[in-house]
């Protein structure tokens, strides 16, 4: 008979798990290595047209006139689209909070450089781009809102006139007795911080092929879609089509990181198809388009923050005031990145009270989107920098100050002031392992010698919590309703005992197909190669979300376990009927349904499935001939938020300590990473190699944010960084090779004890590097509180003490 929730891999119905917890060969890789994975730009449909988009050169301007006649007259041009078509056929994007969305193509005015103004579908992309040059647009430039501070200046130009203000939301969250904590503190450490715009840069930009069915009034979109069903809902709203008439087919993706975007590109290609008699239209966003106006910009933040600290080093209060530049509206859901810190506002510390004074504003910069980690990377940069500043003020070792304030193992489940509940952790064990791994005492001695020789060497020791398995409730206060994020799978066994797991998402790089196959194979006792994982199109798939918020590994595990459990119940009934006993006398073990009393007697999975499919005469009367089961998982125990946003949101709390040693070149301001050590605890590691890959990737993006990457805008909101010559993603030459060790504290609340772990490294790395740099600079009495700590920026600081 069926078992309850499987808390650990040992609970699976196999003698020994063969796949879960092992570094298995990934199912995804043969297709990737041989180049047969069908990325969107590899796909061609008969009669397909190619789209190119004309984009605004102005940050803010009224559109007086668009003349497309010359483009329309060109041979090979099938359709030209402008804002007038959108006005006639579409709605503006749905946003959170509501009412801050634009049409997918500018209507009446443009709000940022790169906003689509017109588009062409032609028989090839070259010709489509030639045709763009024939489109004449007359603009009347408007005064622009170049940055967040300008947005709130009285008399500022309005990005959305109808809103009467550039403030999307302004509110104060109060959790506990913040004022008392600060009044009673022995020390208050406060400062300002600036996190400049960075963002996701997947190898593959967004792309799609859209085909409008003019007879059925329906739309099919193949594309690089990170969240297929969500995309279908959004298109339903903008394109005024019922969602069940929109079929989103997610192709394998060359990465995502939250930045895939795609709503505007999809709408434009879809409408061009509608205008071109229903021919399929391909749109491949190029890298300049991506960097200018794709989904790759996030976290443009100005902070003021303070810590209340007692003389003994106990941290009692945290205040964070954030002015967040969302860019031209909320179409990219950048707003949720500002709400995400609610899931772990006080990090891994027992801070009793906190305040979050949050102002989200619209400007004439490109709209912001989610990026791996959502909001905590900047938040932890601020929090961890303050903790280091407190350590310096108290003359304490930064590692010891952290240790003193950690949530203790016996305090779990632990509710943080901002409302979320952490499931488990051993923060001190993780810290100690990191200190030992790096030989911290030796590093400090090395640092002392180097300092005596005039070198600027610094050490960062930073610990963070990674909220894993996101939930909508965390974003309720910025206008995203809902509790629970469903992830559904179908598990089917065929007549020969092969297993298919149908999911709603496609490959993105993390290896969730492999995780699904590992869990299904170990539950059903089959070889992993007997399991096929397939993507269902959005219109027929079970409710699902896909990749995002360090959620899918755990969610798909829960869904596969749930479906397998239903199959187990069903198969036990069938076998009991065949063997003239009761289901309670039958169990699944190592791929066989066997009699508990006499395990030698039983049937294989294939025999049971085969009987069900081919011998309905032998089945119990109320059993359908269907050896398949659906299960839609959602995190248990999630709650609706109170008026201060407090709720049980993210299910799991992983933890990591990063230790980094850097040297700053006093003459050039250049930072070199001399050593990097990581200890992390994400509970059960379903596939340790995949976790390792997630950490490596997160470190790389964290190094980018701390030292290299920055979307620079000029004084008039002109983007100054539009190619990879200037947007500097670190390469193998800049990303340190880290030494790692592991602590495993299984989650008591998640399937198999696994915790979400896709974002922990990017949560931690920027803070760790910035803290290390400031440790290096501390003998000079200067500190850098702006990311990235580029050589030019550090050199300017060093000039102050030269």
């Amino acid at each position: 008979m069926a078992r309850g929730v499987l808390k650990l891999p040992e609970d699976l119905p196999v003698s020994v798990p063969r796949f879960v917890g092992k570094e298995v060969t990934r199912l995804e890789d043969p297709g990737l290595v041989t180049g047969t994975a069908e990325f969107i730009d590899n796909l061609s449909l008969a009669g397909m047209l190619h789209c190119a988009i004309l984009r605004s050169p102005h940050p803010h301007a009224r559109i007086l006139r668009i003349d497309t006649s010359a483009a329309e007259a060109m041979d090979g041009v099938a359709a030209v689209l402008t804002g007038e078509d959108l006005r006639r056929w579409c709605n503006p994007a749905v946003t959170a909070p509501e009412g801050w969305g634009s049409y997918s193509m500018a209507v009446d005015k443009v709000r940022f450089v790169g906003e689509p103004v017109a588009a062409v579908a032609a028989c090839n992309r070259y010709l489509a781009e030639d045709a763009l040059e024939q489109i004449r647009v007359e603009y009347e430039p408007l005064p622009c809102v170049p940055d967040a501070h300008a947005a709130t200046t009285p008399g500022a130009s309005l990005v959305f006139e109808e809103k009467g203000s550039n403030v999307i939301q302004s509110r104060v969250y109060d959790w506990g007795e913040v004022d008392r904590m600060f009044a009673e503190a022995d020390h208050v450490v406060s400062n300002t911080f600036r996190w400049n715009r960075v963002g996701a840069n997947p190898t593959e930009t967004f792309g799609c092929i859209c085909q409008w069915d003019l007879t059925g009034n329906a739309l099919t979109c193949h594309g690089s879609y990170q969240v297929p069903r969500f995309m279908a809902l959004g298109r339903s709203a903008t394109l005024r089509l019922p969602a069940n008439r929109i079929r989103i087919i997610a192709q394998p993706m060359g990465g995502g990181f939250g930045g895939k975007g795609g709503p505007r590109g999809t709408d434009i290609a879809a409408l061009l198809s509608r205008k071109a008699e229903g021919r399929p239209v391909k749109y491949i966003e190029d890298r300049i388009e991506y960097l200018l106006a794709g989904g790759g910009q996030s976290w443009d933040r100005h902070y003021e923050a303070a810590l209340a600290v007692r003389a003994d080093g106990t941290i009692t209060g945290l205040k964070v005031k954030l002015l967040d530049d969302q860019g031209a509206g909320a179409e990219g859901y950048g707003t949720i990145s500002a709400a995400k810190p609610l899931a772990a506002f006080t990090g891994c510390y027992r801070i009793e009270a906190a305040r979050y004074d949050l102002t989200l504003v619209a400007t004439n910069r490109a709209p912001t989107y989610p990026f791996r980690g959502y909001g905590p990377p900047p938040h932890y940069f601020v929090l961890e920098s303050l903790v280091d500043m407190a350590a310096r003020k108290l003359g304490m070792d930064p590692a010891e100050l952290r240790r003193r304030n950690y949530i203790r193992p016996e305090q779990f489940p632990y509710v943080v002031p901002s409302g979320n509940e952490y499931d488990s952790g051993q923060y001190e064990v993780v810290l100690d392992k990191a200190l030992a791994l790096a030989d911290y005492a030796k590093l400090r001695a090395e640092q002392a010698r180097a300092r005596a020789a005039g070198r600027l060497i610094g050490i960062g020791v930073v610990s963070t919590v990674e909220p894993g398995v996101f939930d909508w409730n965390c974003y309720a206060t910025v206008g995203v309703p809902g509790v629970g994020v469903p992830e559904g799978v179908k598990v089917a066994v065929d007549i020969l005992g092969n297993v298919t797991v149908a999911v709603g998402f496609n490959l993105q790089g993390q290896g969730q197909f492999t995780v699904a196959a590992q869990v299904a194979a170990d539950y059903l006792g089959v070889d992993m190669h007997a399991v096929r994982v397939a993507t269902a199109a959005s219109d027929v798939a079970l409710p699902h979300f896909g990749q995002g918020g360090s959620r899918l590994g755990v969610s798909v595990t829960g869904a596969v376990l749930g479906a397998c459990r239903k199959l187990e119940v069903l198969f036990c009934r069938v076998v009991a009927h065949l063997m003239q006993t009761t289901p309670e006398q039958v169990e699944l073990m190592d791929g066989r349904l066997r009699l508990k009393a006499n395990p030698a007697v039983g049937m294989t999975l294939a025999e049971v499935a085969g009987t069900m499919l081919a011998r309905s005469d032998l089945l119990p009367p109320d059993v359908e001939p269907c050896p398949e089961a659906n299960y839609v998982w959602t995190a248990p125990g999630r709650t609706a938020p109170d008026e201060q946003g407090r709720c049980k949101s993210y299910l799991t709390a992983a933890n990591a300590t990063h230790l980094v040693m850097v040297e700053v070149d006093r003459e050039t301001g250049q930072t070199s990473i001399l050593g990097y050590w990581i200890v992390d605890d994400c509970g059960t590691r379903l596939n340790p190699a995949t976790v390792d890959g997630q950490i490596e990737g997160g470190v790389a993006q964290g190094v980018g944010a701390a030292l290299f990457e920055e979307y620079v805008y000029g004084e008039s909101a002109q983007p100054l960084v539009t190619t990879f010559v200037d947007y500097l993603i670190p390469t193998i030459g800049e990303v340190p090779s880290s030494r790692k060790a592991v602590v495993v504290t299984p989650s008591p609340v998640s399937p198999l004890g696994a915790k979400g772990t896709g974002e922990g490294a990017i949560h931690t790395t920027p803070a760790a590097i910035m803290c290390a740099i400031n440790d290096a600079l501390s003998p000079l009495g200067i500190e850098v509180r702006e990311t990235p700590a580029s050589p030019r920026r550090l050199w300017q600081l060093l000039q102050q003490v030269a």
Partner: protein, 291 residues
């Protein structure tokens, strides 16, 4: 990111290429020579460059060679940089040129990019022009009137502009014989490995009776072309190879630079600072190699 329309020619021989260029010149057609394409192709894709015609030199295999001619090392213009990098002859006889080659882009770029292409493109952030000035290299060009040899000092005119005529093809770069005992160094500051330099310096010097002599120093990535740091050279000439002398020379060299370029990664002031630091470090490194 697709090029505007252009006509394409890939001549089989050098004379054929020159005839083509001559024809386009007389017809007023804007033609551009394509070598390895590592700079030109992105410029075409972004429609920053919009030539009506491309003359691709890829079939001119006779321009792919590395030879020692007496003391002089000659490298055919269509030689891939990677070939120069992997050539023992280049490494052993022209260590500065070899080191500069290793700094150009990444392996993939050096596989496709040609030695001649970098000279003809004349990007101010390129390493080769600075090395050419320091080593007194010569550039051989062939045009309708025949062959001519252009000293490096006369070759680079301004930002991405050389003294080549529209009908001339750069065919060879020539490195004069290396004087034994010459110390050399090339250092640059790039944000990432393989990026174009924000600033860089190349240097050579010799030590004669404990004093620096024949000091040659050039900076790149700062002005419209690579530029000799003559004030630094003059100050160090005859001085002892000591840190204080290097610092003084470097400060003079950087101080006398024309206003350096400015970009999002480096202000003019910061570039000047980089030249000073790199010059100082290059001089010390070069001196340590001099015998």
């Amino acid at each position: 990111m697709k090029p505007a329309p252009f006509a394409y020619h890939a001549p089989e021989t050098l004379p054929e290429a020159i005839t083509l260029l001559q024809r386009f010149e007389s017809d007023g057609v804007d033609a551009k020579i394509l070598a390895g394409g590592q700079s030109l192709m992105p410029m075409l894709a972004m429609r920053v460059a919009r030539p009506e015609v491309l003359v691709d030199l890829r079939r001119l295999r006779s321009l792919d060679y590395i030879r020692a001619e007496g003391g002089t090392l000659t490298i055919g213009a269509m030689t891939p940089k990677r070939a120069a990098e992997q050539s023992a002859l280049v490494r052993e006889t022209q260590p500065l040129f070899h080191a500069a080659t290793e700094l150009v882009g990444h392996v993939g770029v050096r596989n496709r990019g040609t030695v001649g292409g970098s000279f003809a493109h004349a990007d101010p952030a390129s390493e080769y022009p600075a090395v050419a000035l320091v080593l007194d290299m010569e550039l051989k060009a062939v045009g309708p009137a025949g062959e001519r040899t252009i000293p490096a000092a006369d070759f680079f005119v301004t930002y991405m502009t050389t003294s080549l005529e529209a009908t001339e093809v750069l065919t060879e770069v020539r490195l004069p014989a290396w004087t034994r005992g010459t110390g050399w160094a090339i250092q640059e500051m790039a944000r990432r490995q393989g990026d174009l330099a924000l600033a860089g310096v190349a240097a050579t010097l010799r030590l004669v009776r404990g004093a620096c002599t024949g000091v040659r120093l050039a900076a790149f990535g700062v002005n419209a072309t690579a530029v000799r740091l003559r004030a630094a050279e003059e100050l160090l000439e005859g001085q002892r190879p000591e840190a204080a002398n290097f610092a003084r020379a470097a400060a003079a060299g950087a101080g006398n630079l024309e206003e350096p370029m400015s970009c999002v990664h480096a202000s003019s002031e910061y570039r000047r600072q980089l030249v000073e630091v790199l010059a100082k470090r290059c001089l010390a490194e070069a001196a340590s190699r001099a015998v």
